[in-house]
Symmetry: none
Amino acid sequence: QVPGASGEGTDAVVILEKTPFQEEKVLDLLKKHTKLELQMSNDIYSTYHLYPPPELSEIKTTVVYPATEKHLQKYLRQEVHLIRESWEDYKNITLPFIQSQSFSIQWVYNILEKKAEAERIIHENPDPCNGFVLVPDFKWNQSQLDDLYLIALVHRREVKSLRDLTAEHLPLLGNILQEGKEAVRKRFGVPGSQLRIYLHYQPSYYHLHVHFTALGYDAPGSSVERAHLLADVMDNLEMDSMYYQKRALTFTLRADDLLFKKFQEAGRV
Amino acid sequence: QVPGASGEGTDAVVILEKTPFQEEKVLDLLKKHTKLELQMSNDIYSTYHLYPPPELSEIKTTVVYPATEKHLQKYLRQEVHLIRESWEDYKNITLPFIQSQSFSIQWVYNILEKKAEAERIIHENPDPCNGFVLVPDFKWNQSQLDDLYLIALVHRREVKSLRDLTAEHLPLLGNILQEGKEAVRKRFGVPGSQLRIYLHYQPSYYHLHVHFTALGYDAPGSSVERAHLLADVMDNLEMDSMYYQKRALTFTLRADDLLFKKFQEAGRV
């Protein structure tokens, strides 16, 4: 299928993507030579297999040819696994792993010290203990509000993740929730009731930060196996200061993730 | 298009969904009578329009007929708002609303009583108190595992949602978690570590049910503002039997939702 493919043993990457329906073509889909097969029926609900004519079911196709090893790796599917991490797992597996890695978070410090992105700061509470900086996330180009995405980075540097939080951090978290909402409303006109405000566990870097995304935006990492609503986190800490030093937390890891290998070695997956 | 549609002015909801590729059919897609049109080419990268034959481009079609006003509303695009429901809100606003509505869940009873979909049952624990039935969700056509979606429906009928759960329900929830995982592994070869197992709050119908979706599948309703991992729910109930009769729960409501109007009237949004 690759046009001009000649060399033996030369790899190609072929990417096939089904595209969203085009609204103006949907009516055609329901009329035009369309084969319809009943699958099941219950009460007022029924499901069918519909086989559309080729011109109404375009597949977007991208070819990389010749493809290098790097291209192949990038597109190979990696299995993901659910991990349920007890507090003991955290102490014995995750924490030593985090400490052994030298994740560079210089870019975070650059923002906090105004050495980078200073002009992008939407809001700052300068308190060294309970303060934070709110900036647009790299993933958001700020051209439209549909995929609004901001990050609150805390000023204090010793809080790695959700696992470190206790009731001591409630004033900090409360500031982020209240001032963050207010800043987004003022700058972008988006009210707090249209924002999903949450932490990731595992986070992608171990300096405490909080995500602000548009509620209508199906943001990557907003699903239940990774996101923790800030309001829930605060309620949990109010109920029990040691909540996150007791409870099991669920997250996913890719099979090629180093942390996954650590859980495997420990016989926990 | 609706089979047997006769009544004038009777509405139907028709849902069209493109399904994931089936791995074993991808090769056919690249060979069989497939029209390929070059779109652009640059260095080693090129893109094409590919027009597959009908049998390789099935569209999953769901019909609700006759559809009530509620069905129509459900599928119309609407602004969404975040609600943080305290236990008092639940008692004063949500519960009276649920009780005032006559949501028909006859289709659930049909399944539990084997009056419909009996041949689709994947697993059953027949215990009237701690038993349940596991069936593929309407949204899953069972052609590929990528978007695996099953629902566990409990046999007992008085448990409306997460808000009704206490430690009394732990045996039931434990059965769903353990037997559900085992049944999916046996029938579909998907291990428990690849499953997202969760409840919705608010649910779309008030008869307790649990969602099983493929972990790699970005299933609708799996985001943090609606999904509650069954394992977390069980830990919460073990910690405090009255957890869900105390805690605030967050969910989204569409602006046209009747429950949203009730929260508005109560001055809670």
